[in-house]
Symmetry: C2
Subunit: 255 residues, 2 copies
């Protein structure tokens, strides 16, 4: 303990007071161990008592850091969204800035790769919602992190719209109610105002849903009965998907 007791305020520590630093370190350790247990045994294998045991603590002590096991899992969700987002960003950054097609393909492939490499984590993020959706508009940290993750793709899709990549099929009978909601969604998520017609957003949403379907099916292992070489099937779907978006398909780099 080599601390000069003269000025207790200054100190200029990395972040906040000493208490806050050690507190945050403990919090991080809890989440790291929880993550390991999640990876090893799935979401149901994460238990406060086991985490505390591994840390040399007792379970009630963890309640100073997380209000409940569910809150811990929510915090984990937020971290995982960030991790997935970082993986996507990295993949995107591996492509030239101007190459919208390459960046989108790389981003989508990165999501699949992350999901396959982190099945339980992916299931926690995109599986059935255990908790009823937060009443207040997205006050949960997980939902907020999820929106930040989504914004990555919103930005990419926005570029497609701006570049006028795909022709929106003039919907013969798009219900006005749906149009209104899609427009609201557009402005809320920051789509470029004018060009983002409800029709365009429907195309993008359709593609996202399609992508979600293929990745979930593969990660959740509901396609084992058809083939064990999912890579090529995924790429075939990706090709179709790209075509719908006016994106030039390119096979993945043989790395």
């Amino acid at each position: 303990m080599t601390r000069q007791p003269t000025f207790h305020q200054v100190e200029a520590a990395p972040s906040g007071t000493r208490r806050e630093r050690v507190r945050q370190a403990t919090s991080r350790e809890i989440k790291e161990i929880a993550r390991r247990h999640l990876t090893a045994h799935g979401a149901s294998g994460v238990s406060l008592r086991a985490i505390a045991r591994e840390m040399g603590m007792t379970a009630p002590g963890l309640y100073r850091y997380f209000a409940s096991l569910n809150h811990l899992l929510e915090a984990l969700q937020a971290e995982l969204f960030a991790e997935l987002g970082a993986a996507v960003d990295a993949a995107e950054a591996s492509q030239p800035d101007s190459d919208t097609d390459g960046r989108l393909l790389a981003a989508l492939r990165a999501v699949r790769a992350w999901g396959l490499a982190n099945r339980p984590e992916f299931a926690l993020l995109f599986g059935p919602a255990g908790t009823p959706p937060a009443s207040s508009p997205e006050d949960s940290p997980a939902a907020e992190a999820g929106q930040r993750f989504a914004s990555t793709f919103v930005a990419l899709f926005d570029r497609l719209i701006a570049e006028g990549r795909f022709t929106v099929p003039d919907e013969p009978e798009a219900s006005p109610a749906l149009c209104a909601q899609l427009d609201a969604f557009a402005s809320l998520t920051g789509f470029s105002g004018d060009r983002a017609s409800a029709g365009a957003i429907r195309v993008l949403l359709g593609c996202w849903v399609r992508f979600y379907g293929i990745v979930c099916m593969e990660v959740f292992q509901h396609l084992g009965f058809v083939s064990d070489d999912m890579e090529t099937l995924f790429e075939a779907e990706l090709r179709d998907l790209a075509a719908d978006l006016g994106v030039a398909y390119r096979p993945p780099d043989a790395r």
Copy 2:
């Protein structure tokens, strides 16, 4: 207890010996209660002790009927697949036999409707696979029931192929490995041999994946941020999907 004790064998009971009947009745009661708990509190809310308590039994007694909680859940899965299949069959039967389009649309809508009306059940069937896939090829009752459910749609898709509904895009570079696996899948699931080219199956699989995506997203509540009127969005997706299959879209019956 008015039983004539003369001939213990004959009796001509509905099925099997008396022992087997009461055993099956108990087994059915267990599954019924488990189903109620599943509906009310999700898969994690199904507990042997609670079921036993409700039956006036003790938990170890249930082990005479199911080897473990997981086996119970698997049996439940099988029953739910059958229930979902029955709902789909009923919807299909509401359309004229010759009306392939109407039958397919009705069947797909039935899946969505069942999922929305039975969220936890749907999650158990189509959510992340908790147990690693059975080593032996589909010896688990759940997997077997799942295949039976799938066969309903296989038959419908088969009709589309037989009727030559959609033109398969001649894949420029369908990998031979994938083609072989798709062909194997075709013969295994009973697609009509010759017409079911790997290309056609890819189209069908793509549509199925797309459908899976939209329904899962809705049931798992990962689309709450875009709209709360999912019905119209689903129908819009369904329209696109039908177009890919050469199926004439028709709005749902205003019932």
